[in-house]
């Protein structure tokens, strides 16, 4: 081994499992695997869309990757390669980095740059892990609040909740006098409703709820004589109107899909009520939700399939939305929301625009979209993305640490080379 390599080699050369776990060769293998996964995951996005690829390649434990080989744009054949997912690869890489790059590395002046870089990369990997496991995000769409008066009753002008982009939940609502009690089941618990059925037995209530024929993207339609339905058709008791959920091809962009499913309420007294649930999100056009309502034993209940709702610790009102185009074009130069943040009695004005989000109490609000795109405003509505990520600012810190480490290390090496005898020998 050369002089350069020796200085960076582990302090104790041994064949212990720890040495293997921290070995540089393992690092090379893992990094190449990660690069391969990244490449295959990029190509797979063309056909499968980002959400699926992210789940299958980058957040999974393993997969069979497909490599569509082509030459000059002509497809040849598709290779199938079994690979570990990026999740275990990055996990192992983190262990390898901590063991080999921090614990077993010689802590001396020559290695200070490498140490700093490795600390930065470790921080970056931790940030990624925290983001994956502990963050959540969604969107908040609001109409411009009218200056005076109450505006249109159905429109949403302010909110203290936001809705998930992708995930659904099933809310069971129980009317208790003036109050409505809410129980929520997450989408993951309903997974078997795709193809099969899921039966929920709410504790203390006189009925069971059976969900079946879940569709990831669908549209409710009324059944008529000229309409063919491949899915079950249901009609409410005492009603002539029969409806069904028409399946639609799933969009690659998952947030554009609207899920739906069939529901059967089986009351303890033997009554059976059939209906459909449809998870459309209508904010900001319609602020109230219309759940499927039924009565069992004199109590009114509701079932609502909706995007997961998250609470904000404050209320956001959209005072004004502004869009400026480049002169003589329809290309946006700038679009920004002027909002009021209300916490109890305290009010504060803020602006949210591209590259300048609002960070407050652990939540970050971004300008992401606006409408109506056809016909334009006013009144405009603005779509804000809201995310809660405990590791929000860690990558920025990691970036600084890594930059510093790389600078120390490579400048030291360059300096050493410039003054070395090697250079003199290699000069012409």
């Amino acid at each position: 081994m050369t002089a350069v390599a020796e200085s960076l080699a582990p302090a104790r050369a041994s064949a212990s499992p720890l040495a293997l776990l921290g070995s540089m060769k393992l690092a090379v293998v893992l990094i190449v695997l990660l690069a391969l996964l990244t490449w295959l995951g990029t190509l797979a996005q063309i056909d499968e869309g980002l959400w699926k690829v992210q789940r299958d390649y980058f957040e999974s434990w393993g997969l069979i990757a497909q490599l569509p080989l082509s030459w000059w744009g002509t497809p040849l054949f598709t290779l199938r390669i079994p690979l570990p997912g990026a999740y275990p690869v990055m996990g192992l890489l983190f262990v390898n980095l901590v063991v080999g790059g921090l614990m077993r590395l010689r802590w001396n002046v020559r290695n200070i740059g490498v140490l700093v870089v490795h600390i930065g990369i470790a921080l970056l990997l931790i940030a990624g892990f925290v983001k994956l496991e502990a963050s959540y995000s969604g969107h908040l769409a609001l109409y411009e609040a009218p200056k005076g008066g109450s505006g249109v009753a159905s429109r949403l002008y302010e909110a203290s909740t936001f809705v998930s982009f992708h995930d659904y939940e099933l809310a069971l609502l129980t009317e208790r006098g003036e109050q409505v009690e809410e129980r929520v089941v997450a989408e993951a618990a309903l997974a078997n409703a795709r193809g099969g059925s899921v039966t929920l037995a709410p504790a203390g209530l006189p009925f069971k709820v059976q969900l079946h024929d879940w569709l990831d993207n669908c549209q409710p339609r009324q059944k008529g004589p000229m309409v063919n339905a491949v899915t079950p058709v249901v009609s409410e008791t005492g009603s002539d109107v029969a409806v069904f959920l028409e399946p639609r091809p799933a969009n690659k962009e998952r947030e554009r899909n609207v899920a739906g499913c069939y529901v059967t309420v089986l009351a303890d007294d033997g009554t059976r009520i059939d209906s459909v649930l449809f998870g459309a999100e209508l904010r900001p056009f319609e602020k109230r939700r219309v759940p499927f309502c039924f009565t069992v034993a004199g109590v009114r209940y509701g079932l609502d399939l909706r995007r997961v709702m998250f609470d904000l610790p404050y209320t956001i009102r959209l005072d004004r939305f502004e869009k400026n185009d480049h002169p003589g074009t329809t290309m946006a130069r700038d679009f920004r929301s002027f909002v009021t943040v209300r916490e109890g009695a305290a009010e504060r004005q803020a602006q949210i625009y591209m590259n300048t989000p609002l960070r407050k109490d652990g939540f970050v609000l971004y300008q992401t979209n606006w409408g109506p795109q056809e016909g334009g405003g006013p009144p405009w509505y603005s779509v804000l993305e809201v995310s809660n990520n405990p590791s929000d600012m860690w990558p920025a810190i990691a970036c600084g640490v890594i930059a510093l480490g790389l600078m120390i290390h490579f400048l030291r090496k360059l300096g050493a080379f410039l003054t070395s005898s090697t250079r003199e020998a290699l000069k012409a």
Binding site: A35, G41, G73, G328, M331, F417
Partner: protein, 680 residues
């Protein structure tokens, strides 16, 4: 080294021969041209700086005309031949400004110019043009030819049909037809923009003649008499549709078509400060409407000048009128537009510094090649270094001018990356030469510079979109453009440079010109290593900065977007290379081959991901680009295969004077161990 230089010289000579063989004669005009003299040089230079607004930006006419010509014609100039006085064909070359002046002032002549390049005989077949079925080469069609009713109908019908087909599923002819229609529409908008000023309007009826000021008038005259005309129209009111006012109706219809004619061209009329107008310029249609409504009198002289330019018989009179138009527009726009920027942009395109730099790069390369023939001549080394540095200076000055004109950091779009990456690639190679003066980096630097600038120019023409156009809202951040975009592109540039050095190493080794243990090969290996380290530092910081930016604009640090993935792959490839080198997994050959593959990864990240059509960074699609990308892969992977085969199949014989290696202490031992050194 003499063998290397001989190879290089033969290569350069064959390249020149190939270029010569590829040139074709310019097509002949089907009818004698109306304009028999050339536009005068002073006029063209003055008119080039006419300010106008296009795509949300005020720019000189030369920029508008140039990019329109690139988009429509696919070349930087328009050439044709006409029979000269002596009966022999005489070639005429029009620059974009002259072409624009011809469209405005000599529309009939402009309509027979060989404008639309057809590269596939199937397109000619589809449109019903006779042809010799030659698949190679290309032909030009004129606007007049496409305007023929049958042809136009057919083209429009085929466009409708094929534009429904997904772009990736279209065949060459279908794609060509779709593009042809788009180019036709783009040209048609420019051609028709001033058409209403080119005709006389016959006016009948005393009352109307009195109102508009004559029996045969032109648009500017009508607009000059907008007051009386308005009064007349008010008096007639709804009665205008009756038979007795058919003459007035005809005039109104003419004016309506004049308004509609200006659809999609540049905005030629500046906003009027006195009316409190902000930064949106007016189309001619807006101007006609404003004048008819009794507003914007300041615009009337502009119409008169344009009218005069269309109407005048002599070329010099037309020039005078257009020059007057330019001066008036500049004066009116003066309050709202930074005249300095217009002048700077005009000079920028005239001086064309990056184009000049190509010549100096090539000269620098010739000197570097001469340097190999006469290795002891220090003067040649200095000359080559200075010439290449001067060329780098020109390229950098070009980039600085672009920054000054747009008020932005060096990279705003894909075109800018060519110039920037070329400059950084040359700079890092020159630094490598200064650190280890082996005359190799000296030759690589100018080649890298000239090739990348040439690619950039090809990209500029095939894309045909103004490279200084304003940015979409998310990119409108000089801070992030200056930090993330610049650092990541330094990473790309140096990664590419390292790959080129690695390719040279592999080829030198495979061709047995240099032994891996020679100081030349060792020095080259040092350069590959050093540049990779440099590239990694910038690539990693640039990639993470990109994530930090994304966290502020899109709400996530990392979204597995193709462009992000590409940048990550470069970083991973380089990190893996450095760790593999350190752990002894690869030696010199491995490093060189790995760096070559990293070069392909750079190409994937820099360009290919933009062709995938997915993700948030799909901002630079161009079909011509796909070929360039595949060529890079082909070259990179061929060299990789050559290197692999060479390493597997042919043991390296020990050289005489192996002892010379003792002078290379640091890694020589390790490297030699990687080479089969047995004689057997």
């Amino acid at each position: 080294m003499n063998t290397i230089s001989r190879c290089a010289f033969s290569f350069a000579l064959s390249l020149l021969a190939l270029l010569g063989a590829c040139s074709r004669p310019a097509p002949r005009l089907p009818a004698p041209p109306e304009r028999t003299e050339s536009w005068s040089r002073e006029f063209v230079e003055a008119f080039a700086s006419l300010p106008l607004q296009d795509n949300g930006r005020v720019k000189p006419a030369v920029t508008f005309a140039a990019f329109a010509l690139y988009q429509i014609h696919g070349r930087r100039d328009l050439q044709y031949t006409v029979p000269g006085a002596d009966g022999r064909d005489q070639k005429v070359t029009l620059d974009p400004t002259e072409w624009l002046c011809d469209i405005w002032c000599y529309p009939n002549q402009a309509s027979i110019y060989p404008l639309f390049r057809i590269e596939h005989s199937g397109v000619l077949d589809a449109l019903g043009f006779a042809n010799d079925g030659q698949k190679q080469g290309f032909e030009y069609l004129s606007y007049a030819q496409l305007l023929e009713e049958k042809v136009l109908q057919k083209l429009q019908e085929l466009f409708r049909q094929y534009s429904k087909v997904d772009q990736t599923a279209r065949n060459d002819v279908q794609e060509h037809l779709v593009q042809l229609w788009r180019r036709f529409v783009a040209y048609d908008a420019i051609h028709r923009q001033l058409a209403s000023l080119q005709y006389d309007i016959d006016v009948t009826g005393d009352e109307l003649q009195q109102a508009v000021g004559g029996a045969t008038v032109r648009l500017a005259t009508v607009l000059g008499n907008a007051g009386p005309l308005r009064a007349l129209l008010l008096r007639i009111g709804r009665d205008i549709e009756s038979e007795k006012h058919a003459n007035v109706m005809r005039l109104v219809e003419f004016l309506t078509s004049a308004v509609e004619n200006d659809n999609g061209g540049a905005r030629l009329l500046p906003p009027i400060a006195a009316l409190g107008e902000q930064d949106t310029w007016h189309t001619l249609g807006d101007g006609i409407n404003m004048l008819l409504q009794g507003q914007g009198d300041a615009l009337l002289p502009l119409f008169r000048d344009l009218q005069q330019a269309m109407q005048a018989k002599g070329l010099r009179d037309k020039e005078t009128a257009l020059r007057a138009f330019r001066d008036k527009v500049a004066a009116l726009a003066g309050a709202r537009t930074d005249a300095g920027h217009i002048a700077l942009e005009t000079t920028y395109y005239r001086a064309n510094w990056h184009y000049q730099s190509i010549h100096w790069f090539l000269f620098g390369f010739v000197l570097a090649a001469a340097c190999w023939l006469l290795p002891r001549n220090r003067l040649l080394w200095w000359a080559s270094l200075l010439v290449t540095t001067a060329a780098l200076g020109m390229l950098s000055y070009d980039i600085v001018l672009r920054c000054l004109i747009t008020g932005r950091p060096p990279i705003k779009n894909l075109y800018d990356t060519f110039l920037f990456i070329a400059a950084v690639g040359v700079a890092i190679s020159l630094v490598a030469e200064l650190v280890l003066p082996r005359r190799l980096a000296l030759a690589i630097a100018p080649v890298l510079g000239s090739v990348l600038v040439m690619f950039g120019r090809m990209f500029e023409v095939t894309r045909g979109e103004d490279t200084m156009d304003p940015l979409v809202a998310v990119l409108d951040s000089n801070f992030w453009l200056a930090t993330h975009v610049t650092t990541i592109n330094i990473g790309y540039a140096t990664g590419l440079a390292a790959a080129v050095f690695a390719c040279v190493w592999v080829l030198l080794r495979a061709s047995r010109l240099v032994h891996p243990a020679d100081p030349t090969a060792k020095a080259l290996m040092r350069m590959i290593y050093g540049i990779t380290c440099f590239s990694l530092a910038f690539g990693v910081v640039g990639t993470i900065l990109g994530g930090v930016w994304a966290n502020d604009s899109w709400g996530r640090f990392w979204g597995w977007d193709p462009k992000e993935n590409g940048a990550l792959m470069i970083c991973l490839a380089q990190i893996a290379l450095l760790h593999a080198r350190m752990s002894g997994m690869v030696r010199d050959t491995g490093i060189a081959l790995w760096a070559t593959v990293t070069g392909c990864v750079v190409v994937f990240s820099w360009f290919h991901v933009n062709l995938l059509g997915v993700g948030l960074h799909s901002y630079g699609f161009s079909s011509g680009l796909r070929d360039a990308v595949w060529w890079s892969y082909t070259i990179g992977l061929s060299i990789f295969c050559i290197g692999c085969l060479d390493n597997l199949l042919r043991p390296v014989p020990v050289r005489q004077g192996q002892a010379a290696d003792a002078a290379v202490p640091a890694r020589a031992g390790a490297a030699n161990a990687a080479w089969p050194t047995s004689n057997g």
